[in-house]
């Protein structure tokens, strides 16, 4: 039996660095889905307070964090004394990815295909 994947969404409520459109669309998608999820106002703020809930979150085996740059998320948890596990944690970056791409990945679908004519 596989363990259910936990999803943690960061609203980045105390700054304007994540595009509103992306965070609103991803949140709408999460709210409309049947799966449970956890959401925080601002991971940076929780890290600054060394919020014990970060340790609870970090202890979740299969965790997808929808926030910003993976390096930032990793060290924010670490700074709060709640290091993320080396394996089983996926971090989706709302500063660089589109809402559609993130929603697809949350649903276990492949990311958006490249536009026709675009090559990698």
């Amino acid at each position: 039996m596989t363990q259910q994947r936990c999803v943690l969404f960061c609203r980045c409520a105390f700054a304007r660095v994540v595009p509103d459109e992306v965070k609103n669309d991803v949140l709408t998608h999460l709210v409309d889905r049947a799966e449970p999820f956890d959401a925080v106002g601002d991971l940076c703020e929780m890290s600054a307070r060394k919020d014990p809930m970060l340790a609870d979150l970090a202890s979740q085996g299969n965790l997808t964090v929808v926030a910003c740059y993976p390096r930032a998320v990793k060290w924010l948890f670490s700074a709060a004394g709640a290091p993320l596990a080396a394996e089983g944690v996926e971090i989706l970056n709302m500063r660089t990815e589109t809402a559609a791409s993130i929603c697809n990945r949350l649903d276990g679908k492949p990311s958006e295909p490249l536009l026709s004519g675009e090559s990698s």
Partner: protein, 302 residues
Amino acid sequence: MIAKKSSTLRVLVYEGRDSLPIPGELRLELIRSLLDQGYFVSAVKSEGKLAKFSQSHILVLGRFESMPDALATDASEGTQVHVRNIDGMSAESIRGIVDEVSQTADGIVDDPGAAGASASGPRWKPWFPVIDYDRCTNCMQCLSFCLFDVYGVTKAGQITVQNQSNCKTDCPACSRVCPEVAILFPKYKAGPINGDEISADDVRREAMKVDISSLLGGDIYSMLRDRSAKAKSRFSKERDDDRALKERQRCLNKMQQAVDSLDIPVEVLSSLPSADTIRERAEQAKQKAQQALQMNAQKPIT
């Protein structure tokens, strides 16, 4: 005074057993507004267990036909479960309930250093350095550079961020003097300081900026203060307030350009303490860094 959002309260938007579905628009509006206020929110649509987290208060919001007493028994020992029926209520009214429970829950205090929002107080933008220990070499340059006592050293001799709220909002200068690109400000506008991946060009560029800091005598703040003092002296002779203001802005801009590589906001430059205080703080910071380096040098090599 800023109301601290409780680290002990978790708000559960509940649509599990013994409850009716919450209309989609209300659910979204409610969750979004709670998050914008800094709350920790969980959404559960099927069977939900409350024992997942160890905080002392859980507020369960749902459209209950009868109050689900069984929910309370799901929670961890020591957790107080507050259940509220939100049937027929607006998002605003529900938020009022959350605020009320938040205010009365144990451990919630007014904390000027804490983030969050209140009706009356401003928010603290969570702006502070985060150290990437995969890159940090414990060189203590950040400790030596920062005048605001943001950095400290652990008993084990490792550099650490000890006073986040002392950090000057939007100032990433310490990350600019870090030779290893090991200091992040997750809310910074650009990479790699915001946590973006680091390229070889980034490392080269940061090293060049450290050289600039060395060229300035390694004491950027003193240089800034001297220039600021000279500018103030000139302003005191000015009789035309408008001209003085323009001149001050021009000088600040010039000063900013001189240390553009450090990206110190004008607000921080213009609010620097007196020259004597700067010298004193710089000396203290330097001493702390030297002590830490000496302590680490004396450690046996393992």
